[in-house]
């Protein structure tokens, strides 16, 4: 993975955070259960999901939050630091089923997106604030949030 460093000077209010596409599958949800330790059957068992009043297993809110973390850490690069990440779970998302062992069925693709809302220097830190969100195929922001990052400053290097 070739990594390009983002600098404070590269960013203005309104700059778009490089979008990140994600596909949630039943398999990703099971991996997430293992990775996060959240084994709530709401996310993998049809009959349990039905008993909780959702049609079928839903994507973990925390997985969507982690996607937003991925969005930000990719964007700020190794030299940046994520200071704050916040999101709210507003809408439910349903994973794609699997067609074969490795391929998901056709279906929804989610996009993690963001825009810069503010940039400033505070305590010698070059700070950038962003609105971020996960958007489903219908364009609905099911997981809106915000992030604050510290970026390196080019002039500081010379």
């Amino acid at each position: 993975m070739a990594k390009k460093q983002l600098y404070y000077e590269d960013v203005e209010v309104g700059t778009e955070v490089t979008p990140l596409a994600k596909v949630a599958t039943t398999q990703m949800l099971v991996k997430w259960a293992g990775g996060s330790g959240d084994f709530n059957p709401l996310h993998f068992e049809d009959s349990f999901a039905a008993s909780q009043g959702v049609d079928s297993p839903i994507v973990h809110g925390a997985l969507k939050r982690a996607w937003l973390g991925h969005l930000m850490t990719d964007w700020i690069g190794d030299g940046g630091f994520l200071k704050k990440l916040a999101c709210q779970y507003r809408g439910m998302d349903y994973p794609r089923k699997m067609k074969t062992i490795t391929d998901p069925q056709e279906g929804e693709t989610w996009w993690c997106r963001g825009t810069v809302t503010k940039k400033y220097v505070e305590d010698d830190q070059h700070i950038v604030e962003c609105d971020i969100w996960v958007e489903n195929a219908k364009g609905e922001k099911t997981t809106p949030g915000s992030a604050t990052v510290v970026l390196p400053f080019k002039k500081a290097k010379s």
Binding site: W32, G34, L85
Partner: protein
């Protein structure tokens, strides 16, 4: 407190209630499994060689991951204690409303974290389907040097 408020005296008495400290070990394999579960191939989370040569010097955690607790407990246990009180208050269903993280220091594989969680606040709102109770929980994470590495404020919605 108005008649029929979801914040019963029983619940009010739980504000500030804290967990036992939870010890969490940050292991490389757990970080790798977590990053794999997000679908995040960032070598800082999985490639020991790459991470050694980075400014972190070791594999680090993706944001929001703090390793695995050595023993069960923590916020899940605290939630268990509040379950009955929520039921008696007429708001037995719990939804995850979101989380707000503040990160102060990177968390490296090999760190031993201690987390402290507590109920910080209860707020009430009338929703479309009736009473809603917003429960705010605060968790702080310290590393083995006693430095604050992160804070989380999560919101649960009881209805």
């Amino acid at each position: 407190m108005t008649e029929g408020s979801a914040i019963t005296d029983e619940l009010r008495s739980m504000i500030g209630m804290a967990t036992e400290p939870v010890i969490m070990e940050v292991e490389r394999g757990a970080i790798r499994r977590y990053a794999d579960a997000i679908g995040d191939p960032n070598p800082l989370f999985s490639d020991v060689e790459y991470a050694r040569n980075s400014r972190y010097g070791e594999v680090i955690c993706p944001p929001g991951f703090f390793g695995w607790p050595l023993k069960r407990g923590g916020m899940m246990e605290l939630l268990g204690t509040i379950g009955g009180a929520l039921f008696r208050a007429g708001v037995p269903r719990i939804l995850d409303g979101g989380v707000d993280y503040e990160f102060f220091l990177p968390i490296r594989a090999g760190d031993i974290l201690t987390s402290h969680g507590k109920f910080a606040d209860f707020r009430e709102r009338e929703g479309r389907t009736g009473k809603m109770l917003f429960i705010t929980m605060e968790t702080t994470y310290l590393n083995q040097n006693g430095d604050l590495v992160a804070k989380a404020r999560s919101t649960l919605i009881a209805l």
